[in-house]
Symmetry: C2
Subunit: 175 residues, 2 copies
DNA sequence: ACATATATCTTAGTCACTAAGAGATTTAGC
DNA sequence: GCTAAATCTCTTAGTGACTAAGATATATGT
C-alpha cells in the first residue's frame, strides 16, 4: 500500500461514510416526525406537498407507494392536526386535492432549521468549484441508486427459483 | 446572477440533489427488505450484525432505538428464517448473543450487488483526489447531521410551550 | 342510457411496535 | 454466604399504520 491511501481503501471508506451519513439523515427525519408528533409517512406526505404544492390523494399514493386506503388515513390525521386541507376538485368531483395550511405547516418547517444550519456550516468550507463537484456527484449518485433500485425491483417479479444467481463479490464487511 | 451559477443557486441544487439521492437510498433499502421477505427493522439488524459481528439482544435495542420487546420479535423472525442464531453467553447467562448464519445471510448480501455495481460505476469517474474530497465531505456531513439530530432531540425534552422559537429562514420551497 | 373506467373512502384483518412487568441471573452490601 | 438491588431478555396486552378487497360516487365512451 502506497503512502497516499490506496484507492480500494478510499472506496471502502467512502462507501462506509456515505452509508453512515445517509442512515443519520433517515434518523433526522424520524426525529422530526417524532417532535412534530406525527407518523413518518405523514411527514413524507408533508414533504411532497411542499415540493409539489396542491396534489390529489391518488398522487400521494403514487409517490409514496402506499395504497389509497392508507393515504386516506394519512390525510385524516394531517387534517385533524390542522396541517392540511381537503379540497374537492370542482371540475372532476371524484378528485380530492390536498393542500398544506401554511401557518401550521411552518412549525414543522422550523424543525428543519438545525439541519439547514448544519449543512450551511459544512458547505461553507467549500469553494464554488468544489460544490459543483459535489453536485455532480450527488446527481450521478441519485441516478445510480435509482437504476439499482429498478434492477432490484425486477427481481421481485422473477420467481425466486428462477432468479439469476448474482455473484457476490464480498460481504460488506468481514468480522 | 453571473454567468457561472450563483452560489445560492448552487447550494439549493446541492441540497435538493442530496435529499433526492438520500431518499432513493432509503427506497433501495426498503426494496431489499421486500425482496428478502423480511421487515425493515429486521434488515437493519442484519446490517448491524454484519458491521459489529456477534452482538447481544440488548445492544441491538440500543443501536436501533427499539424496545427490547421489539427486538425479541425481530430476532424471533430472523431466527425462524434461518438468518441468525441465538447463543446464550456462558459467562453471563442472562445475555443472549445473536450471530448471523453466513450461508443464509449471503443471499441477502447478494441483494446489495446492484447497488455496489452502480456505486462502482459512479466512483469510477473520479480521480483519487476527487474521491478524497467526497470522503471529507461525507465525513463532515455525517458529523453535521449527527449534531443537528442531537440539537433536535433536545427539543423533545423541552415542553412545547417552552421551546425557543426557531427562526425559519425560508420554507424549503416556494410553490 | 348503459357499461366501463377512475378516484376516494370503508371495512376487516394483519403485523410490528410500545409499555409494563415477569422471569432468570448477576452484582453489591452487609 | 445471604439478601436486595440491578441487569438482561422475554411475555403479555393493547395500539396504530398498513394492505386487500370492495363500496361509493363521479366521469367517459359507445
Amino acid at each position: 500500500m502506497s503512502r497516499t491511501k490506496a484507492r480500494t481503501t478510499l472506496l471502502q471508506e467512502l462507501e462506509e461514510a456515505m452509508r453512515r451519513s445517509s442512515a443519520q439523515g433517515v434518523l433526522y427525519g424520524q426525529t422530526v416526525a417524532n417532535v412534530a408528533g406525527i407518523a413518518n409517512s405523514d411527514l413524507e406526505c408533508m414533504d411532497i406537498l411542499y415540493l409539489e404544492g396542491r396534489v390529489t390523494a391518488g398522487r400521494l399514493a403514487e409517490v409514496t407507494g402506499l395504497t389509497t386506503g392508507a393515504i386516506t388515513g394519512v390525510v385524516d390525521r394531517l387534517e385533524k392536526a390542522g396541517l392540511v386541507r381537503r379540497e374537492r376538485d370542482e371540475k372532476d368531483r371524484r378528485k380530492v386535492f390536498i393542500s398544506v395550511v401554511p401557518e401550521k405547516a411552518m412549525k414543522i418547517g422550523q424543525l428543519y432549521v438545525p439541519m439547514q444550519q448544519a449543512m450551511e456550516k459544512v458547505f461553507g468550507a467549500y469553494s464554488d468549484e468544489e460544490l459543483r463537484l459535489l453536485l455532480r456527484f450527488a446527481t450521478e449518485g441519485y441516478k445510480g441508486v435509482l437504476a439499482a433500485t429498478e434492477a432490484l425491483k425486477s427481481l421481485l417479479d422473477t420467481p425466486p427459483e428462477k432468479r439469476p444467481d448474482l455473484k457476490l463479490k464480498k460481504l460488506r464487511r468481514e468480522t
